[in-house]
């Protein structure tokens, strides 16, 4: 019994008194002001969808993965999102391995509620075959080091990893369009998730005097504080979730004040997360591996050179696929980094411009024209806005169109894609899903042209 007592951190009476009395003079033990966050550092791993966040000394890692499953009966058209937390014993001596403790479950629930109830992740776009196959997105959060305020750090990690996650592209095939083909990332650029907004969690700590409020409490402050509240808001000021697990009573005036503070902090945090993700994406784009296209001299006029084996494509860049959001008539395998201007991208996106697709020169050199990073950036930036709306329209697109497209694709004038600066992956479910009225026309027209 005495042996067990030896290994945990203890709070002294001196520390408790000191932390509270220091707060009365508006100073915190690490020198911060009561409303300052600690230094935030977001790092990304080599895999898509893996992020590590360091908030002061607190470290949290998050990993996103996806699996095809059957949807729930009552939501046949939606994919699912689930959050799992793992409180590793190396983070804190009080964490025990095995079943998640109360705080682990609570942390998972706060993050889950913030993402799910505010519908931050678009789950309808995760549906492949209604009532049969949908994507189940799973976010695993690992706590690596507990130095206080795990909720905020874990939330940021979850958001960062969801923003950089890419899921494989699927297409429907077979005679009745019921067979789903999942394309490996070497063959087709994987797609990002559709995220409408970023719900950021902001945690407040209250001490015995209710007017003493601190943001981002450290480990010691958490041991001393008497009440806690986590507010999840997005940069627009929408409150996504509030969690107040017992503790000291707080008047509504203080709560409103805290929500206002949280709004400001959420804006800051969103900007930081987006910056970090953007930097990561640009780096990723720059490291793209070139994909070789097996069909070299392809006539735009639809020579059905069956690129059957997409496998011929060498590892394309998984990175460049941001552009896949742009309508592609065909999949271009070679996403190179320099490309057309972003303006073009924008316009392309908007009119689903296949009009830029013109019968390409048969002596197309895959390495001369490339997609450039500006393009990628622009697409990434604008994609957030334009794609969702497009998605809505495109739902009405006919799925049956897919099979035809499949056939067409291959021949696809990759060069055209290139010249238009569009990125690859034309035909996939995504296309069917995206608003491709124009695409359809274009396809029609190009078919006619052929």
């Amino acid at each position: 019994m005495e042996q067990r007592l030896a290994n945990c951190w203890r709070l002294t009476v001196n520390e408790k008194k000191f932390i509270e009395s220091a707060l009365l003079s508006d100073v915190r033990v690490d020198g911060r002001g009561p409303l300052d966050y600690r230094k935030l550092n977001i790092k990304f791993g080599k895999n898509d969808g893996s992020a590590e966040v360091q908030l002061g000394e607190t470290r949290v890692m998050s990993y996103v993965s996806a699996q095809l499953v059957q949807p729930y009966r009552d939501r046949p058209n939606e994919g699912t999102l689930s959050i799992f937390t793992e409180f590793s014993p190396m983070a804190d001596p009080s964490f025990e391995p095995g079943r998640p403790g109360e705080s682990a479950v609570e942390l998972g629930r706060i993050i889950d509620r913030g993402l799910r109830e505010s519908r931050a992740i678009d789950t309808e776009s995760l549906c492949i075959l209604s009532a049969k196959l949908v994507w189940a997105i799973r976010v695993d959060i690992h706590i690596l080091d507990n130095a206080g305020n795990l909720v905020d750090a874990a939330n940021i990690a979850a958001l960062a990893s969801l923003l950089t996650f890419r899921r494989p592209e699927c297409s429907l095939g077979g005679e009745d369009g019921q067979q789903v083909v999942v394309h490996p990332p070497e063959v087709r650029e994987p797609l990002p998730l559709i995220i409408h907004h970023l719900p950021v969690a902001v945690t407040f700590g209250y001490f015995s005097n209710e007017n003493l409020v601190v943001l981002d409490p450290t480990y010691h402050e958490e041991a001393v504080m008497t009440g806690r509240m986590t507010a999840t808001l997005n940069a627009n000021g929408d409150v996504c979730a509030i969690q107040k697990p017992g503790g000291q009573e707080i008047s509504h005036r203080v709560i409103m004040h805290c929500l206002r503070l949280a709004h400001v902090k959420a804006g800051d945090m969103t900007a930081k997360i987006k910056d970090a993700v953007e930097k990561h994406n640009t780096e990723r784009a720059l490291q793209k591996i070139k994909r070789h296209s097996s069909s070299v001299a392809v006539d735009v006029c639809g020579t059905t050179a069956s690129l059957g084996g997409k496998q011929n494509q060498s590892d394309g860049d998984k990175e460049g696929s941001r552009l896949d959001q742009l309508k592609l008539k065909d999949e271009t395998k070679s996403m190179e980094c320099d490309a057309t201007s972003s303006a073009q991208v924008q316009s392309n996106k908007k009119d689903g411009s296949s009009k830029n697709f013109v019968g390409g020169p048969s002596s197309w050199d895959p390495y001369s024209d490339c997609v450039n990073s500006d393009l990628l950036k622009a697409s990434l930036a604008s994609r957030g806005h334009s794609t969702p709306s497009k998605k809505k329209d495109s739902r009405r697109e006919t799925k049956p169109e897919e099979p035809q497209n499949e056939v067409k694709i291959d021949s696809a004038p990759m060069d055209t894609a290139l010249t238009s600066g569009q990125s690859n992956e034309g035909k996939t479910l995504k296309d069917a899903v995206k608003p491709k009225h124009k695409r359809k026309k274009k396809k029609g027209s190009s078919n006619n042209a052929n």
């Binding site: 042996q3 007592l5 030896a6």
Partner: protein
């Protein structure tokens, strides 16, 4: 390895040594008594290193290896900061960051009798001396020095305590005074109690002074003497 062999090991004192290094060749020294401290071991004719760290020597014949870690291994005659965990009829249970909880007999105070047993609440911070520390047993503490006087031992009131590595504690206790304490002491008035177990208590008249001192000490660990001075001066300038 051969080059490290030396009769007197003077070239290795105060150097970084690693497990397996041979620091003394006994065959060349006769009729000498050498005392070995932690981290060294005798292997028939040679003394070899067991723990990575710096080799230290103190006259006339003591050698040991010093390294800095977060864990504390209790040794006799160390002054440490302990936190009261529980009180029993005959001793207090005090946590000193070691592998086992230490016992502080209720009578181990100056003028301590059964009538005037001090009352410590759970979480009280004490400055105590380790009397006995045998491996596998709970260490024994005392609030008096070897002669029975209280000295500075006892409960520490107010102030703020932070934890650090054993290396930082030793540096803060070294003489001459380490540069960071010197520089801070010139401008601020504060008192500190340093425990060899990696706990430091700071007290000053205002909370902000305490916080400045505590942060300066924590940040001074990886710095050299000159860097410490510069860091402390910059901090003081920023504050005043």
């Amino acid at each position: 390895m051969e080059s490290k062999l030396s009769g007197s090991a003077t070239n290795l004192v105060d150097q970084l040594v690693y497990p397996g290094d041979v620091v003394l060749d006994l065959s060349s020294m006769t009729n000498q008594t050498i005392k070995l401290g932690g981290g060294l071991r005798q292997d028939s004719d040679v003394i070899s290193v067991m723990k990575a760290g710096r080799l230290r020597f103190s006259k006339p014949n003591k050698y040991w290896v010093e390294s800095s870690q977060k864990r504390y291994v209790p040794h006799a005659e160390d002054s440490v900061l302990g936190i009261v965990v529980d009180s029993r009829s005959d001793n207090f249970l005090v946590d000193i960051k070691g592998p086992a909880i230490a016992f502080l007999p209720v009578l181990a105070f100056e003028g301590g009798t059964r009538r005037n047993i001090p009352k410590f609440e759970v979480g009280a911070l004490l400055y105590v001396r380790v009397v006995k520390a045998n491996p596998g047993m709970n260490p024994e503490l005392s609030c008096t020095d070897a002669s029975g006087k209280a000295g500075e031992f006892g409960a520490l009131k107010e102030g703020y305590m932070f934890e650090c590595s054993t290396g930082l504690s030793r540096m803060l206790l070294s003489s001459p005074t380490c540069p960071v304490l010197d520089t801070l002491g010139k401008k601020l008035s504060f008192e500190i109690a340093v425990g060899l177990n990696g706990r430091v208590w700071v007290n000053a008249s205002s909370p902000s002074t305490t916080i400045i001192v505590a942060n300066a000490l924590i940040n001074s660990e990886p710095l050299s003497g000159v860097q410490q001075k510069i860091m402390a001066e910059k901090l003081l300038q920023r504050v005043q």
